[in-house]
């Protein structure tokens, strides 16, 4: 019946057949096509946690960038010095000119919060980077040695991992004290200290995923084809090992900020208290918790919410990138 001689009607018939078909056919998009990251991003967009996390971080970063210009007053000038009496537990709460009230030295709390965001972000990012870079190097060496180094390589690997194990075990603030003890107390010290804490985490992570990748089929394939080992590591293993590291980076931004706060609480924080940083502000204010709770609450909430933001985003990214949870 479909072999009809006359052409023109058939053509038209064919045409609208196809149209009809086209409009009916539902293409269930196949995930196989999209690349890991494109796909991950697609899933992120649909993930509320990611959106919220992203929003929080976005806001935070925005404040960190433009805060200093938004700040109505100088964060360090003790403009209302005469009005605050820490020694009598008399403080000034929120009011028209000072939205968040004054701190214990008569400075505008709101301005300090705004400006503090930048410091906080700075501490978080820098220390995370320190941890990431150092950790990545160690992990990469260890992983490469393990995958390609043969017996000696494996020995190197075990040694490195033992050390990182121990580092993992040491309470972060002890590491911090050690660093502070050698470098003296400074903002850099804080960053390094918090960074050092992250090193073993990144190292283990990168190594782990490299080992996983190392034994994966495509690497075996690459080996089989006889690609030089270094190239395999650089072109095959490394790129594919990075996604977990990136996730971890996001997460450790959260921990870094919290760690920094803990350090300031132990008096190992940023030495110049005049420069506002949420962790320092919190540890300063908690002395007056009974008389001026809000003074501690502002920085505390700041820290917690920011940390939450990074954690949410990080978790979401992990899910998005996790092949197990895909599809």
């Amino acid at each position: 019946m479909n072999a009809t001689p006359d052409s023109s009607p058939k053509l038209t018939k064919r045409a609208d057949k196809i149209d009809r078909l086209a409009q009916l056919t539902e293409r269930t998009e196949s995930t196989s096509g999209a690349g890991l990251w494109r796909e991950a991003f697609r899933r992120l967009r649909t993930n509320k946690a990611a959106i919220i996390g992203g929003a929080v971080i976005g806001l935070f970063v925005l404040i960190a960038v433009v805060g200093p210009w938004l700040a109505p007053y100088s964060p360090t000038a003790q403009d209302w010095r005469g009005e605050v009496f820490p020694n009598q537990g008399r403080f000034v709460g929120p009011r028209g000119e000072n939205w968040f009230g004054l701190d214990h030295l008569g400075r505008d709390e709101f301005s300090r919060m705004l400006v503090g965001a930048r410091q906080t972000l700075l501490v978080g990012v820098v220390s995370m980077l320190i941890g990431l870079v150092a950790g990545a190097v160690i992990g990469a060496v260890s992983g490469a040695a393990a995958t390609l180094g043969g017996e000696p390589g494996r020995r190197v690997d075990t040694v490195i991992m033992r050390v990182t194990d121990i580092m993992l075990a040491l309470p972060s603030l002890l590491l911090a004290v050690s660093v502070a003890a050698v470098l003296g107390q400074s903002l850099t010290t804080v960053m390094i200290a918090v960074g050092v804490v992250q090193v073993p985490v990144f190292a283990r992570l990168l190594r782990g995923s490299m080992l996983a990748q190392g034994s994966s089929d495509y690497v075996l394939a690459a080996k089989a084809v006889g690609i030089r080992k270094r190239r395999i590591v650089l072109t095959q293993i490394m790129p594919n090992s990075l996604s977990p590291v990136i996730v971890q980076a996001t997460l450790s931004l959260a921990t870094a900020i919290i760690e920094a706060a803990a350090l300031s609480y132990l008096g190992l924080g940023n030495p110049d208290p005049a420069i506002p940083e949420w962790g320092v502000m919190l540890s300063q204010a908690q002395r007056f918790f009974d008389n001026a709770p809000m003074m501690s609450v502002y920085p505390a909430v700041g820290i917690i919410v920011t940390a939450l933001g990074f954690t949410l985003l990080g978790e979401a990214m992990r899910e998005a990138l996790d092949p197990k949870l895909r599809g």
């Binding site: 019946m1 479909n2 072999a3 018939k13 057949k17 009809r20 078909l21 009916l24 056919t25 539902e26 293409r27 269930t28 196949s30 649909t46 509320k48």
Partner: protein
């Protein structure tokens, strides 16, 4: 009457995020099974054939009542011995499972609990349905393993899945399935994960077991070879619907639905004249149209016409009694050549 008669069974999965609370707007639902109907007689071996994604396994799970309750809606009826499995209460179906209804899964390794000894995994079902405990249970388990052809059962009972070979694992699973001489055994691609030599053995084993116990077997597979070797009755599924149902001989002799026709055309046959090209079906199962709008196979069909695109085609018996075909213009002897001609031209 039939032991199992499935009537217009449909399974719908709520779309992404659906069924997980109001949080995210439920997206397009997907109909995995869209009105399957077939019957299984006592002791009969029935095949469900179709390429992956056509809803075979989902059908099986639906019958076993193993589909997650959340985000899944099951429609139609599935009468097992007169009782509807689909509307049956949790408690009742639990009692049926393992005793009257049993199932064998695709991947023997992942289907066995890695941290529980084989012994326990076998005896637990005996304890549950036959009240066997302790020594007698162990004895029975051993003899079961023996029956499914696992050498040195007493040692194996103490071992863990990872210590067994692929074939043995599947045998163990089968042992559990037949432990209570069920009346219906559902085998979901029982051989796909195994290498060819083992496949044959497993199929043999299944065959003799069902013969011995008079168990009915619902064989789910994409492998027409298996069907040819085993089944009495065959149902060809496409996009969640049976498109052709016939006895084995009838089907292999005269595949009438263009899909079935295509399937058979796409497997190499020794008796085919040399040089006669294989004729694969174009496109993939992903290009389809909802049965409601017409024949889901249309986009891949060489013979489709406007009629194909107007509503679900009815089941007809264009060739022989009991040979049902769901197609507006089935491949009948006259056209076979024409159809192939168009493809090759």
């Amino acid at each position: 009457m039939a032991l199992l008669s499935v009537d217009e069974l449909s399974v719908t999965f709520a779309g992404q995020g659906g069924g997980r609370g109001a949080g995210s707007g439920a997206r397009r639902d997907t109909k995995a099974v869209d009105g399957v109907s077939f019957e299984v007689e006592e002791g009969q071996v029935v095949g469900l054939v179709g390429e992956s994604g056509c809803g075979k396994s989902v059908t099986a799970l639906a019958l076993m009542g193993l589909l997650p309750r959340k985000g899944v809606s099951v429609g139609g009826r599935a009468e097992f011995d007169g009782a509807d499995l689909l509307s049956m209460g949790e408690k009742k179906i639990r009692d049926l499972r393992g005793s009257q209804l049993a199932m064998i899964f695709q991947d023997p390794l992942s289907s066995l609990n890695p941290v529980v000894p084989i012994g326990i995994q076998v005896t637990e079902i005996l304890t549950r349905h036959r009240g066997l405990k302790g020594e007698p249970a162990r004895k029975e388990a051993a003899s079961l393993l023996d029956r499914v052809g696992i050498p040195d059962p007493d040692r194996r009972l103490k071992e863990y899945p990872h210590q067994l070979s692929g074939g043995m694992r599947q045998r163990a699973l089968i042992a559990m399935a037949v432990a209570c001489a069920p009346r219906l055994l559902i085998a979901d691609e029982p051989t796909t994960a195994l290498d060819v030599t083992i496949q044959a053995q497993i199929l043999e084993l299944l065959k003799e077991l069902v013969d011995q116990q008079g168990t009915a077997l619902l064989m789910i597979t994409h492998d027409l070879g298996v069907v040819a070797g085993l089944c009495d009755q065959v149902n060809v599924l496409y996009a969640g619907r049976a498109v052709e149902t016939a006895g084995r001989r009838e089907l292999f002799a005269h595949p009438t639905h263009p899909y079935a026709h295509g399937l058979l055309g796409s497997i190499p046959r020794l008796d085919a004249p040399r040089g006669d090209p294989l004729r694969p079906i174009r496109g993939s199962i992903n290009d389809k149209i909802a049965w409601a709008d017409g024949c889901a196979f249309a986009p891949r069909c060489d013979f489709y016409t406007m009629e194909c695109l107007t509503g679900t085609p009815e089941l007809t018996e264009p060739r022989a009694r009991g040979h049902q075909v769901r197609c507006v213009n089935p491949v009948l002897p006259a056209e076979t050549s024409a159809g192939t001609a168009e493809v090759s031209s």
